[in-house]
Symmetry: D2
Subunit: 201 residues, 4 copies
């Protein structure tokens, strides 16, 4: 099989994502992760929130938390109740400056709800407000400029991971890793999880 | 920094996902990909569909197609119109046997709408109905049994990637690679994509 | 103020809806309603379901049930768990023949979950499967033919309540009436409901 | 059939809704409605928005606009693009002060997108920002106090239409009336609408 230029672009893009995942994975702080799984388990309800594709990542995580038997709600869905001081809010925002996320975090803060931020910018508004911050590197502004110059030199003008792609995919994989962690900590098997999986397909 | 057992589980789970992505990426057929990007570009409208977390992957892909200026709808969302023979339906289902996906594919087939299947089982009902099949390996049943025995021997009884996780995450990364491919083919820059990105955050 | 023809059409359409609501309201069976509020209160979880605009009506009802402190889920939303025999499924379908509703009802039936049908056709597939049927008349097929002829004679070719409009709006108002009923039965005040209303706007 | 107290509550609640609909319907300004249907037809795309149950009303309206062949998007759904100056934003908010609605309206205003407000408060922040305001009376604060006293005297402590119920249902019926109006203005039949209705059920 002769590889075409086309496939190389797709494979390059996939490699760019994997490189970011590996880089983030290598820098994770075990204590930080332990605090996060602890907070997710001790909260009465977990609320998750994100805008756009970060919101889809939040939902994918929420689905697995539900399978684990953790009481979880997606902010903005139909039957999501009010926040309480015994709950925690997991907010996903690459920039940490998404308007609706910040204003939700402010409401959570006033209610005494604990906030977990998943963001590329630890010192963003969201990062500063959070009780616990998980740092998920995406394409930083500096990287993006560097790439731009390197790519111009190499004749590649396009980014292979447009907008928040690196942050979003890396967050999803990190959170799926956290699910594996929670399965062990909670002593749940895949069979337990399947038993809570919706039957309606 | 001393790595705890806890972090190893999370990192093992992440590695399991990356291994699957690399394995799928290495086996992609350039001709298959070329046909897929061709069909996505030549269709009047692209409809995407998936159940559960596969549905979230479908949405994440649809968002980027919209950013590229391709007319795209998510089956089941409010303003999604009827299928026509000039459209294509991209259906994501690991098993290829998801009930609601099959019945939607049957309706699409009757209307003369082209079907793209993203599935782990090329010879599933969905795979057999599709005009184009992209094979995204997940955890196969055989693997899962093998793992079960190996893990029992090693004293690890839990799966690190429960249910459809490997298929879902690998599909997302494959489809994000396809977006990079489409950017080049359509001559779109990230700036073009940002111009179509929703302003309301 | 001189009324234009345009406003008359809009007001005629509104009147057509009100007439249907009053007609349905006048024929409600108190015993049927008592059974329904009883089942909603005694179920461990209430699941609601509907397709298209009927699905929006189901969500509007679910939101108020949540405000009343009843554990309620919308089928298809992110964190909706599996059905159990202690739950009930409220399915809204004008025709009572909507494909995905029927197949969900079959799954519910097998699980031993009680089914409440809100439909215009008591003897439809959904109606026959349900433990409790609430009859909400919409525009029947006979009415629609009659109207067609009458309207041709009168030079009005258009329906003022296209498709499921009468059924959907009447169902919403009926279910909002049921919320008033449940407030009294549960001894809940508006303040109680506001306390559970989402704070994030 | 002997009417029980229970049914009277439900029927009283339904009557309260109908009274509000009739009152609003009687005060509609034909010129206002003509401007609204004109703006909906002349816009390149219509964007609809609402929070909670008002958001469901917005979606129910959007579905019918799509059936009429008008290009329409729901703010926050997956494939909704950026606003442009040729578009209009229909925002539904009883109070006219919903935080996320106001901030979306500000973005729309900056982009030169026309704003239609459906609200109970013409002089609210949203009402003041809008190019066109449709006044849909709900339960006003004064009414609510009056009711409270009257009801205490009468021994009825509960509201029969909690929170935004009157506004939401009345808005839905008004907008369904507008669909009838648009059918005539656009010369569309129910058959035309059915042809665009999703086939996947």
């Amino acid at each position: 099989m002769v590889l075409t230029v086309k496939q190389l672009i797709l494979n390059d893009a996939i490699q760019e994502i994997i490189d970011n995942v590996l880089s983030v994975s290598g820098e994770l702080d075990p204590k930080n992760i332990e605090e996060m799984t602890g907070l997710l388990q001790s909260s009465k309800n977990v609320f998750v929130m994100g805008l756009g594709r970060s919101g889809l990542v939040a939902r994918a995580f929420a689905m697995r938390l539900m399978h684990l038997g953790i009481s979880v709600y997606v902010v903005g869905e139909t039957t999501t109740p009010a926040l309480s001081p015994e709950d925690c809010l997991l907010a996903i925002s690459g920039s940490g400056e998404t308007f609706s996320i910040i204003s939700a975090a402010e409401i959570a803060h006033k209610r005494g709800t604990k906030i977990i931020a998943v963001t590329s910018y630890v010192d963003s508004t969201l990062g500063e407000m959070a009780d616990l911050v998980v740092h998920i590197k995406g394409r930083t502004k500096i990287d993006s400029e560097k790439n731009y110059i390197t790519r111009q030199i190499n004749g590649k003008h396009q980014s292979l991971s447009p907008m928040g792609t690196l942050f979003e995919v890396t967050s999803l994989i990190f959170l799926d890793g956290l699910i594996a962690q929670l399965m062990i900590e909670l002593g749940k098997t895949e069979e337990d999880m399947k038993a809570r999986h919706t039957l309606i397909e």
